[in-house]
């Protein structure tokens, strides 16, 4: 099993959700986050004084899938979240040791 963390532009979240749903995958966790990548933040000016704002608003989508489905998820999400401009985000794939569905007690792939 793998956890896939996807950092995307906030306005792309619906496209990413639809792309994941189209693969037949169910369930995701979405969080508003802030951060910066290679492009850094942006500049704001108040009464002539410049401030560097380092953290830019992004949205993090987390899903857990079987390891063999990771490539198709990456392809679908990359396609859905892409604008081609700096700041499109990142996809992280992390091993998952165990999953438990709290309601039934199921574990492993059955619990996803």
């Amino acid at each position: 099993m793998r956890k896939i963390e996807i950092i995307v532009r906030p306005f792309k979240v619906d496209d990413v959700k639809d792309a994941i749903a189209a693969l037949g995958l169910k369930g995701m966790t979405v969080t508003d986050v802030k951060g910066f990548g290679r492009q850094g933040g942006h500049k704001e000016v108040y009464r002539g004084a410049e401030y560097q704002v380092d953290f830019i608003a992004k949205t993090k989508v987390e899903i857990v899938v079987d390891a063999d489905r990771v490539p198709e998820v990456i392809d679908a999400v990359s396609e859905a979240a892409k604008t081609g401009k700096v700041g499109d985000g990142k996809i992280f794939v992390i091993p998952v040791e165990e999953v438990v569905r709290i309601r039934t007690g199921e574990t492993g792939p059955d619990a996803i």
Binding site: E44, V45, Y46, R47, G48, A49, E50, Y51, Q52, V53
Partner: protein, 400 residues
């Protein structure tokens, strides 16, 4: 008594009162969200505190019988002899009570203006002590000097609606305050970004609206002079928005909404001493210049390294001084300035600026130092970092 004048000044007094909550929002939007309530409170409390001090003692010190050109006597202590008719009123067309309450609104907003200089870092109790003494020791004498029969008015200094009494006096105190109190914790190392600029623009709009009562009402009658002051006030603010945004776009790259709001206030400050003495076309020149001058004023704090949180010195100080001097240049109604052949008026204006800055700065400095010694001006570092809303008032502005 003139009922048209009375009704007009009643409305003007209400308009000037509205400026204080407007200022509270103007300032409140510019601080960080953890200090929004404390900042609003610093203005709002003046409606309570100063109104009482003014009616009991401040009005008499300002407009009581002149003592040596320096201060008024105690003849109007606790509104003694200040009644519903015109008896004893400095404006013989208005009920004495009305003149008193119109002036009260000026006294309320002036110490509120100062609070922008030390926003985010002053104890509420210390503010109450400072403001109480300041109204008695600084505002009342200044008001007497200019409008109450004191030496500055006698000398011929022109101050239609409070360039010296309100704006320079508060800015001089503001400068003393931020020098005595030092910088906010983290100043220069972390950005202090306004948390709610829409609130600031709403406040600026309320100030602009209330300023019509401030300046037009200073004619003390419903007449042509009031109309002239109304028009010059509006045009100066309008031109100052354009002046500020022009230099801001040239210097910073983009015109900002905070710049538009700041420019409007700068223009209103600049025209305040001149409003009844200049023509509408002169007010456009004064306002446009005021916007540009005050933009430069707010850059000064970075250059000189003091932390005037919300630019009281840059806007009210520089704007008020510029406006007082501009009055000496452009005056043509009821007085003549340099451009109308009276060079001595300009010199009188400069003298009045020096006296105002000197007196108000010195007394305010001593007051701040004394309060710091005996009571303490600043909250603890931990309280300052956690925000004054919680540490001073046990409240939070937003539950998100």
């Amino acid at each position: 008594m003139n009922s048209a004048d009375t009704s007009f000044i009643l409305i003007c007094a209400a308009l000037v009162m509205f400026m204080t909550p407007g200022l509270a929002l103007f300032y409140g939007g510019m601080v960080r969200s953890k200090n929004v309530l404390a900042t609003i409170m610093q203005s709002f409390i003046m409606l309570g505190l100063v109104s009482i001090i003014w009616t009991v003692v401040g009005y008499s010190l300002s407009f009581g019988t002149d003592i040596g050109g320096l201060i008024g006597g105690m003849d109007f202590f606790a509104l003694n002899g200040v009644g519903m008719d015109t008896a004893g009123s400095p404006a013989d067309n208005l009920p004495h009570l009305l003149f008193m309450i119109f002036q009260c609104m000026f006294a309320v907003i002036t110490p509120a203006l100062i609070t922008g200089a030390f926003a985010e870092r002053m104890k509420f109790g210390a503010l109450l002590v400072f403001s109480s003494f300041w109204v008695v020791l600084v505002y009342a004498p200044m008001c007497h000097w200019v409008w109450g029969g004191g030496w500055m008015g006698d000398h011929g200094a022109l101050d239609f609606a409070g360039g010296a009494v309100v704006h320079m006096s508060s800015a001089a105190a503001a400068l003393a305050g931020c020098l005595v109190m030092g910088k906010r914790k983290g100043y220069g190392r972390e950005p202090f970004i306004p948390h709610n600029l829409p609130m600031t623009l709403l406040g600026a709009g309320m100030l602009w609206f209330g300023w019509f009562g401030f300046n037009a009402g200073s004619a003390l009658a419903a007449n042509g002079l009031a109309a002239n002051a109304f028009v010059t006030t509006h045009l100066a603010a309008a031109a100052a928005v354009l002046g500020w945004l022009l230099v801001e776009a040239m210097h910073g790259g983009k015109p900002t909404t905070l710049g538009a709001a700041s420019g409007a206030v700068a223009g209103l400050v600049a025209i305040t001493p001149a409003a009844g003495f200049v023509t509408p076309m002169a007010s456009i020149v004064i306002g446009f210049g005021g916007g540009m001058v005050c933009y430069g004023g707010v850059l000064m704090k970075t250059k000189f390294g003091y932390d005037d949180s919300l630019d009281v010195v840059g806007i009210h100080g520089l704007g008020g001084t510029y406006g007082a001097i501009a009055t000496g240049l452009f005056a043509s109604i009821g007085a003549e300035g340099l451009f109308y052949g009276n060079a001595s008026q300009l010199w009188i204006q400069i003298e009045s600026c020096i006296a105002t800055w000197g007196y108000c700065f010195a007394v305010s400095w001593v007051l701040f130092k004394l309060i710091d010694k005996f009571y303490g001006l600043r909250p603890s570092e931990e309280d300052e970092v956690s925000g004054l809303d919680v540490s001073e008032h046990s409240e939070a502005g937003y539950q998100i």
